[in-house]
């Protein structure tokens, strides 16, 4: 505000006001839909359907959440996704970090060829069908490991991790360690990893979000419903309009404004909140890491 008052010319003042309005509009457009889902999930479904809910919940109703709590599919999906995310991210880190370190050593000549070997897969791939047949041959279809193994290395994450190791670990440190007799492995475990928590959090989070939001794997490679992750369950409820146990989810033939549809919509708002909440709650704490990742990725490599 002080800066705004210091603006001298009328042109500057006009610019500041314009900027304020534009930024306000951007914020509103970004955040309001998310806020609306939140208030609609606890409002009286009729009030939401008739357009009386705008900025504040109307006639609080927990019906949607009660239905969700009673639905076993969501909790099975939640459990599966948690398992895939935790195991998957652990495997990702165990594979990506040592490889990134090896590729960051400048005296390691084969690294140029190896980088090409990895980077090429970012731009060219075998496509869906050969992948499907390969997973079939490996008996990974309908196997929970399909959520973990094929995505073990993300080449983009490998590249930013390598860039971090290359630019942030002082060469003198490595020289001092070798004089003390440390091998590459020892240096990696004792020095490189403890000094690289920043990048480990970044790619750990990237991998975590990737697993949490993975929908494709479940859709194409898994038939068994008990193994399906949360995103597939969400698809069935949110998009395919599959009936809830109480029958409230069936959108019926009586059109959008019908009684059943209103309750179905409330369940949808609730499901969106329940599934997205972990990410949104963690977000303020994690966002600086995410951003750091983009920066590291952009430096060089």
């Amino acid at each position: 505000m002080r800066r705004l008052l210091r603006a001298r010319t009328p042109g500057d003042i006009a610019f500041s006001i314009g900027l304020f309005l534009v930024c306000g509009a951007i914020l509103f457009v970004t955040l309001y839909p998310i806020y609306f889902v939140l208030i609609a999930s606890v409002s009286d479904p009729t009030a939401v359907a008739t357009g009386r809910v705008w900025f504040w919940p109307q006639g609080v109703s927990w019906f949607g959440y009660e239905q969700i709590l009673d639905d076993s599919r969501i909790w099975t999906g939640y459990r599966n996704t948690l398992l895939y995310t935790v195991v998957g991210t652990a495997v990702n880190l165990l594979v990506t970090l040592p490889a990134a370190y090896a590729l960051s050593r400048r005296e390691f000549r084969p690294r140029r060829v190896l980088m090409f070997f990895f980077a090429f897969t970012m731009f060219f791939n075998g496509g869906l069908i050969p992948m499907y047949l390969l997973l079939r041959d490996l008996s990974l279809l309908d196997n929970w490991l399909v959520f973990v193994l094929p995505s073990a290395v993300n080449v983009y994450n490998l590249i930013i991790t390598r860039a971090f190791f290359e630019n942030s670990l002082p060469e003198e440190l490595y020289e001092a360690a070798t004089i003390d007799g440390a091998s590459y492995g020892q240096f990696f475990v004792r020095m490189a990893v403890p000094l690289s928590m920043a990048i480990i959090s970044v790619i750990g989070l990237y991998y975590l979000v990737q697993h949490w939001n993975d929908f494709f794997t479940g859709l194409v490679f898994v038939r068994d419903y008990d193994k399906q992750p949360l995103q597939i369950v969400l698809r069935d409820i949110l998009i395919s309009n599959q009936a809830f146990s109480g029958g409230a989810g069936a959108s019926g033939g009586s059109g959008g404004g019908s009684y059943a549809q209103r309750y179905a919509d409330q369940i949808k708002y609730g499901v969106i909140v329940v599934s997205t909440l972990p990410v949104i709650v963690l977000y303020p704490f994690l966002q600086r890491y995410f951003e750091k990742g983009v920066m590291i990725g952009s430096v060089k490599g």
């Binding site: 998310i34 090409f116 050969p130 698809r235 959008g256 983009v294």
Partner: protein, 326 residues
């Protein structure tokens, strides 16, 4: 080579000369290399193995596009049939529809998704005060982490013709709109929701480029009497050009890579005429109706076009500016 490196890799100074090992390694060539670097090889081995298995073996399976599928032979395929499946695709009645839909969706996403983050970065950069800038930036990239399923679910409840929030706002503003989830609304809804979700995230890198502009430049421009728009036009925008070129090349490599998941989830009988793209068609032909060879051929056609675009754009960028991926 990296995603976003404006400087060619070759120009990097070679610091870190080979460090002499405590004991000079004996033996020659390969023996010596193995003795010295076996630990690095061991560290890289799991990643190499995973990429070889899950990225290169499927590439080997691309030969299926030229062969009959044989259940027993799997990826190696059966009898050689040459370009039969490609011809089948080019002659199929869906061919031009698929190409048109894919190009329309991906080009409009490319253009909007390329320009919006630049505009956003220029606006956010004008905001005075570190914390306010930070808040605006953080808020705008929040949607990036919402899953595609939830995004499409939100679109459906918001655009529902009877009770949707956006439908109602449009009515209040006097637009009748019609069914936004049908054929006419598909492309705009897809593109705008992509921009909504990823604009903030994609602007981070531009903001970083703007943050590194020398403040003396602004000072000098102001003394010379430049207005704020002049400064944006002649200092901020040029500072973004190298980043823009690299991102443009990368995006061009995806020109026929429409987001399968989102389009697939947004498809319904009303909009299938404009929403069926190559990626979703491959899934339906290959996985749902088990025409493995035909599906592979369509997929390969798609990949080759993307790859060509990437290489051509990179070459053009190399000619007209010094920025390129390789």
């Amino acid at each position: 080579m990296t995603a976003l490196s404006p400087a060619p890799a070759r120009s990097r100074p070679r610091t870190g000369a080979p460090v002499p090992a405590a004991r000079p390694p004996r033996g020659h060539g390969l023996r010596r290399h193995v003795r010295r670097y076996w630990q690095l090889w061991a560290m890289a081995a799991p990643a190499i193995a995973f990429v070889a298995l899950f990225a290169y073996v499927p590439m080997y399976g691309l030969q299926l596009a030229f062969r009959e599928f044989d259940f027993a032979a799997g990826l190696s395929g059966g009898d050689w049939v040459g370009l039969t499946y490609f011809r089948q695709f080019f002659d199929s009645p869906q061919f031009w529809t698929l190409i048109r839909n894919t190009v329309v969706i991906s080009v409009s996403t490319l253009v909007a998704g390329f320009l919006a983050p630049i505009a956003l970065a220029l606006v956010v950069n004008q905001v005075v005060g570190r914390r306010r800038k930070k808040f605006l930036q953080t808020a705008t990239y929040l949607p990036h982490f919402i899953s595609i399923v939830v995004i499409v679910g939100m679109l459906q409840v918001f655009l529902s013709p009877s009770s949707g929030l956006i439908t109602r706002v449009a009515e209040m503003l006097g637009a009748s709109g019609g069914n936004m989830l049908g054929a006419s609304g598909f492309v705009p809804v897809y593109v705008l929701s992509e921009v909504w979700q990823h604009c903030g995230w994609n602007s981070i890198i531009y903001l970083a480029a703007l943050a590194s502009v020398d403040p003396q430049l602004y000072e000098a421009a102001r003394i010379d009497g430049a207005g704020r728009f002049t400064i944006i036009r002649h200092i901020d925008l040029p500072a973004l050009v190298p980043t823009m070129i690299v991102l443009l090349i990368l995006n061009m490599g995806n020109v026929l890579n429409t987001g399968f998941e989102k389009i697939f989830l947004m498809q319904n009988p009303l909009n299938l005429g404009v929403s069926e793209v190559i990626a979703t068609y491959v899934y339906k032909i290959g996985i749902l109706s088990n025409q493995f060879s035909y599906g592979t051929a369509i997929g390969l056609f798609n990949t080759l076009i993307n790859f060509t675009f990437l290489v051509v754009t990179n070459q053009i960028a190399k000619r007209v500016s010094s920025t390129s991926l390789w």
